[in-house]
Each structure stands twice: as structure tokens, then as C-alpha cells.
Symmetry: C2
């Protein structure tokens, strides 16, 4: 495998149960989204420029920065193995933000593009510091994860950047060149750096999204502790993006008001959060049961999905568009809940194992043909985490940039860290 | 006031908060429905026939029974003042059922009409027993309360029958002829006999419906104990009948399965019931608060309405038609919950005091013009209980039967027991 080129990929995530309640120490369960992933191509160059292409964020032309302009002088004594000890350096972030937008040739840069640039430059600066090779790099990022829809697109991006840069700067080896123990250590380091990137993006992220994007599968999150869920059965879902934009911070604040303000009915709200907690715990038991047959697994999961959706509605984080998805899917006897912050965003519809391809098509058509123009993705929960693709061909950049993003997963040869 | 004719009237009821949870000892709050009432005309006759007219139950011709056919011999030692000591006599009920349908000239009698006839004959037989006057009676019942929609139409009917028959057979005096103490005793007796009638109809009724139909106002129901709610502020509502029929027994059974069957998530369900209980208790506090301004009263009540609706949905007693009513009312920023058993039936939309007549008309038009053909009633909670109208005019039966039922409330001269 060439050490000058890397193609990496990491999945999006979806919250199955426990959204909002997780903020108050309740159990939440999240899983990786099979088929909804970010892909990133990294190729070293020799002209001293760093080029970042973000076509799926609508960036017309690539960001292009001279590598020499990066503020390595503001990065002191980075221990690559222990990024969790890095203090966030306002001066560094401030400098990076000014560099990111400098000389962008008056290109209109929207908020998502700006954040993507800051995050990239932050990781690049930290990870190239101490590195022997500083001749620049071309990065090309593709993603079929809807942005701002609560599906962990930023964490998936962060994991891809951390992986590609750690590989390119020689801090980790690819799974092709590594044993099981080495792969495990590498994935831990990827996750730690991705978490640093998530902090640039979100301030105080929970760590759920980057963990799922790194390790794949399904995880349980309780009081800040992330546990992989063993014995997970794979479940198929239809993921529907209502495309209704929402503000996660405001939604979380509104729930907090209900709990902390005496006028907001704290007692009632706490009982609702307890009920949501018990839904997550019940789902964990269901998934962990080795004797439960499929019929019971699906019927119980459907019951939990319905209850959880209505309880989230009772916290005020619902939206008519989400109820519309439920209504349409219910016409085919499928059960749906909102996922993530609510107030728009995405809905998750369980597809039982006895649902035929034709039935799924009927639901998808009904959803996409509705006046709301919902977008639908068939997915399953619990796929691979971050992976690397052999990129030794000289044509790989061209192939990567021209390939339909949904076809990248189909290319044979991916090796996974998890 | 003539002692040969009586016109009586009693209101329907609506559950504001606590439906379903009340079955498990949680607090429920119900109120009388202003403007949705049953009216009944009673006139003694001398030909020995008992005639029951139920035009609003779709009965084409009156029931007509010879008074001499009634099974007085099966009624033993009725203490009119203590009907609660009456044991239900299967032989009596069986006999009444056979008499009720005898000789009805092959008229098709539906289930509602049959039950109305049984209940009437049961009360008539019990209350005429010991009476000096047995020459027959004409009864004409009108009602604008939708039947089978959870609005207490049967209790309202039972209270009217009990009141009219107690008056006609001289067991109580009308409020025109009575002092405060006498009126209070009369209303207690009416309520007790109406409860007996409700037992004929429902088996084991809670007693909420007949209490509200007798006393009006709003009541709180906790563990079988009914308390009048003092300091009640009157609240305006739009009551929407989805006209979706539902089976209350099955809905209640479904909730029971969730609690009693280990597969039904009893822990989660109990938390939801606790939350519904706290909603009722919070509403009680709000109504009882003397310092809360209208703005806060309405905002808080709207919050409780939303939470309660979603929690009832999470118990599985919702229905798409009820959510449709919510959706339409929400377009005018009004808040709605299902009321009663759910699964169809009625929805209750709070009308804040700052909502104009025009705005209400817009919502009503949107609801009635929707493809679901909902029926809407403007009402307020907490009106009068059972009342009597001076019926001394010889033309009163004709006037009563020909009067538009919605105009009966407007006739001046009603005197109320409560």
C-alpha cells in the first residue's frame, strides 16, 4: 500500500433511544449507520500547499492554503498519543479561523464550510507538528450523510480527518500493515483525535458520535461512559430526513427549562425522562436476550419506538413533519420515532424482517412523493466503523472524486479498524 | 308550578385530565359541559300507558308500555332515600329487558335505544313502587350530547330520568318549592338514583359522570372519592367529535395489559401514569391559585394539555383523527388533547381568553370542512348541574318536542339543583 495516498471512510450514527434524556444522566443507545458514511481521500503533494475539497458541502472551489502559513508555533509539545491532555488554546483557534478564511478569493463560505475548514486546519496543524514531512497535501471529502440532521456527519468527518492525517503523518499504521493489537491501539487514537475535532465543532460533545463513527456497531452511553453493546442483533431501518432545519441547542435548552424552572413542571418532566431511560434499558435487554424469537423482538421494539416517540413529543421536541413520517409509515404497519434532537431532522422507521422489498419501496415512494419531499435512506444499524481502502493506483484521486459517492462503499478492498 | 308536568335538564361531562390513569387510583379532573345537555319532559297521563320518546336516539316511534305490565312484584322494600342499598336483582333486570322489547311492533331497536329503554323502565318501576299515582306517563327526551363519544350522555340521561321521576312521584320537591337545604338533599338523592341507572347501563361506573351531570362545575376524582373543586375558573373549550367509534372496554384492557403483563413494559407504563397523575395535580393547583394571572394560567394549562395528550398517545390510546384535530387547531396556535377513552371519540381544544370570535370560527370551519367531517361544539367547563324548567303551560309538551334542541337552554326560567 502506498504511503502517499489514503482513502478512509467512517459511518454516520443514529440515536435509537434516549435522546434528550441522555443529557440528564439517563441511558442512550446509538448505532452506526450502514451505507451512510463520509469518505476522504488524502494524497501528499510536493508544492507546499494544503488543499481541502468539500464538494458535498457545496464548496465550489477547494480551500487552498500554503502549509507554511499554519501556526505550528502555537502548538506546543503535542503528545500525539495523548490528545486528551491538550488544552484548548483560544489563541490557536483564533489564528486558525483567520487563516482558514484568508485569501479564499472572495468565495462565499457558509457556516458548515467554515467549521469544516477550522476543524481540518486544527487537526492538520496539531498532527503535522513534529512530523518530518511538510510538503502539503490534497484532501478530498465526500459524504452521503445529510449535514445538520443529527446523523453524526461532523463526527464522521472528524474521524476521517483524524484517520487520514494520522496515517499520512506516520502516527499510525493502516490495518493492512498492522496486527490486531496495533489496530486496536490505532482506533483508540483515532477516536481521541476525532473527539478533539468534535470539540472544535461542538464545544462540549458527548463523545457518542465519534465513538460510533470510529468503532461502528452499537453503543450504550450512561453518565458519560460509553460501552460497546455486545450481542447486538442487526436491525434494518428506514431513515427519513424531513429536511426541516432545527436548532439542537435551543431544543436542549427548552427541555432544561422544563426541568429547572419551577414553572416548567419539573416533576412531570423528570418522570418522562425516567420513562425514556427505562425504554433504553428495556431495549438493551431485548437486544441482549439470546432466547427471544424475532417475532417478539420486533413487536417489543415497535412498542418501545412508539412510546419513546410520544414521550419525546411530550417533552416538546416533536415536529409535525416527524408525525407525518409516522403517519405515512403506519399505513404500511411500520413504527417510527424521531431520532436525535427532534424539532425536525430525522425519523427512524423499523423494518421488520418479514417486510418485503416491495413494501419498503411503497413506503419510500409515499414518503418521497409527499408534499414534504422527504428524503429516505434504507440502512441497518451496527455496521463497520472507520476503514481504509487500498489507494495505491495513481488514478485513485481522479477515481475517487468522480465516483458516485454512494458507490464508494461498494469498492472492494476496504479494511476496517473496527 | 304544575305537578303534572316537569321539564328537566342535565349537562354532559368531559374529562380534562387523568383519563385511563384514574383506573389505577390516579387523580382525574372532569367538568360539566356548558351547552351540551340532555332535556327531558315528563307529563302524567290517565290512560295507564307509559310512553318514552327518544327522537335524538333515532327512535322512529315512541316506546309504549302498559304501566300495569311493569314488574312491581319484583321490587321489594325499596327505600327511596337509600338506593345505594339496593342489590341488583338479575331477575328484575331480566324481566325488564323482556318487557322493554315486547310489542314494539317489529320496530328495529338498536343497542343504544334498548339500553335507554331498560334504564328508564328500571327507574320507573323502582320509583313508582310505593307511589300513590299510577296512571302512566309521557316522557320526551332530547339531547345535543353526542352518544358514545365519552361525553357522559348516558349519565346526563340517567340524571334527567331520576330527577323527572323523583319529582313526578313526589319523592322530591322542585327547586321552586324548596329551600337550600332541601335542594341539597334532593340533588344528593338524584345523584344516587342516577348512579343506580348508570349501573344498569355500564355495570361498574366510576360515578364521575352522574356526579358531574348532577352537580355541574368541575370535580376531582381520586381513588373512588369525588370532590368538588372550589375556586374553579371557567375555561372555554372547543370540543371536537371525530366521530371515530371506539370501544372503551378494549382501550382500558389494552392499558391494563401494558401494566400487568411483564411483556407490556409495566415499569415504563407506571411512570407514564404517574406523570399523568402529576398533570392532574398541577392543573388542580393552577385552578386553585388565586394569584396567577390569566396569561400564566393559559400558558401552563396549554403545556399540561400537550403533555397529557402525548402521554396518552404513549399508552397506545391515541388515534390519527385526534392528532389531526390537534394539527388543525395548532395552525391557530390552539392546544388540544384527546378526552376520555381515546382511540377516536372527542378532542378538547383550549380557547384562551384572548382568542376572538373570528379566530374560533376559522378553526371550527377548518375542522368541520376537513375530509374527516369533524363536529365541533363551543363550550365552557363548569356550568350548572341538573335543573328544572317551569312547565305549567298546557302547550309545553308540544313546545318542547318541536323546539330545536339547542334552543332549550335559552328558554328563561330554569332553576337548578346545583
Amino acid at each position: 500500500m502506498s504511503s502517499d495516498r489514503y482513502i478512509v471512510s467512517a459511518p454516520g450514527k443514529v440515536i435509537l433511544f434516549g435522546e434528550h434524556a441522555v443529557v440528564y444522566g439517563k441511558t442512550a443507545i446509538a448505532g452506526s449507520l450502514d451505507g451512510l458514511r463520509t469518505y476522504a481521500f488524502f494524497e501528499k503533494r510536493i508544492d507546499g500547499y494544503v488543499e481541502l475539497n468539500l464538494p458535498d458541502l457545496g464548496l465550489q472551489r477547494a480551500f487552498l492554503w500554503p502549509a507554511s502559513a499554519l501556526p505550528y508555533n502555537l502548538v506546543n509539545n503535542v503528545d500525539i498519543k495523548e490528545p486528551q491532555n491538550l488544552n484548548f488554546n483560544d489563541v490557536l483557534l483564533h489564528k486558525i479561523k483567520s487563516i482558514a478564511l484568508e485569501g479564499q478569493d472572495n468565495q462565499q463560505i457558509n457556516n458548515f464550510q467554515q467549521i469544516a475548514a477550522f476543524t481540518f486546519l486544527y487537526l492538520y496543524t496539531c498532527l503535522e507538528y513534529n512530523s518530518q514531512t511538510s510538503c502539503g497535501m490534497t484532501i478530498y471529502v465526500r459524504s452521503n450523510i445529510p449535514v445538520g440532521a443529527g446523523l453524526g456527519s461532523s463526527a464522521s468527518y472528524s474521524v476521517c480527518l483524524a484517520t487520514g492525517l494520522l496515517l499520512a503523518f506516520g502516527h499510525i499504521l493502516s490495518p493492512y500493515e498492522s496486527n490486531e493489537q496495533g489496530i486496536k491501539k490505532s482506533s483508540e487514537l483515532i477516536n481521541l483525535w476525532a473527539y478533539q475535532a468534535e470539540k472544535v465543532i461542538h464545544g462540549t460533545p458527548s463523545g457518542v458520535d465519534n465513538s460510533v463513527a470510529t468503532y461502528g456497531g452499537a453503543i450504550m452511553f450512561v453518565n458519560g461512559v460509553i460501552q460497546n453493546m455486545m450481542g447486538t442483533r442487526s436491525l434494518r431501518f428506514l431513515l427519513t430526513n424531513t429536511k426541516v432545519p432545527r436548532n439542537t441547542k435551543i431544543l436542549i435548552e427548552n427541555v432544561r427549562t422544563r426541568i429547572e424552572n419551577v414553572k416548567g413542571f419539573p416533576k412531570i418532566t423528570n418522570l418522562i425522562l425516567d420513562a425514556i431511560h427505562d425504554i433504553s434499558e428495556s431495549f438493551k435487554e431485548i437486544l441482549g436476550s439470546e432466547i427471544m424469537d424475532d417475532q417478539e423482538l420486533y413487536t417489543k421494539t415497535e412498542g418501545l419506538i412508539d412510546m419513546c416517540h410520544h414521550l419525546l413529543n411530550s417533552l416538546g421536541v416533536g415536529h409535525p413533519s416527524l408525525d407525518k413520517v409516522r403517519e405515512i409509515a403506519a399505513q404500511c404497519d411500520l413504527h417510527t420515532k424521531l431520532t436525535g434532537a427532534g424539532g425536525g431532522g430525522c425519523a427512524l422507521t423499523l423494518i421488520r424482517n418479514d417486510v418485503s422489498k416491495e413494501q419498503i419501496e411503497i413506503v419510500k415512494t409515499a414518503l418521497t412523493a409527499s408534499p414534504h419531499c422527504f428524503e429516505c435512506y434504507e440502512t441497518s444499524i451496527g455496521g463497520h466503523g472507520v476503514g481504509v481502502l487500498d489507494a495505491s493506483s495513481d488514478k485513485s484521486l481522479q477515481e475517487f472524486s468522480e465516483c458516485e459517492k454512494n458507490q464508494l462503499a461498494g469498492i472492494i478492498g476496504w479494511m476496517y479498524f473496527a
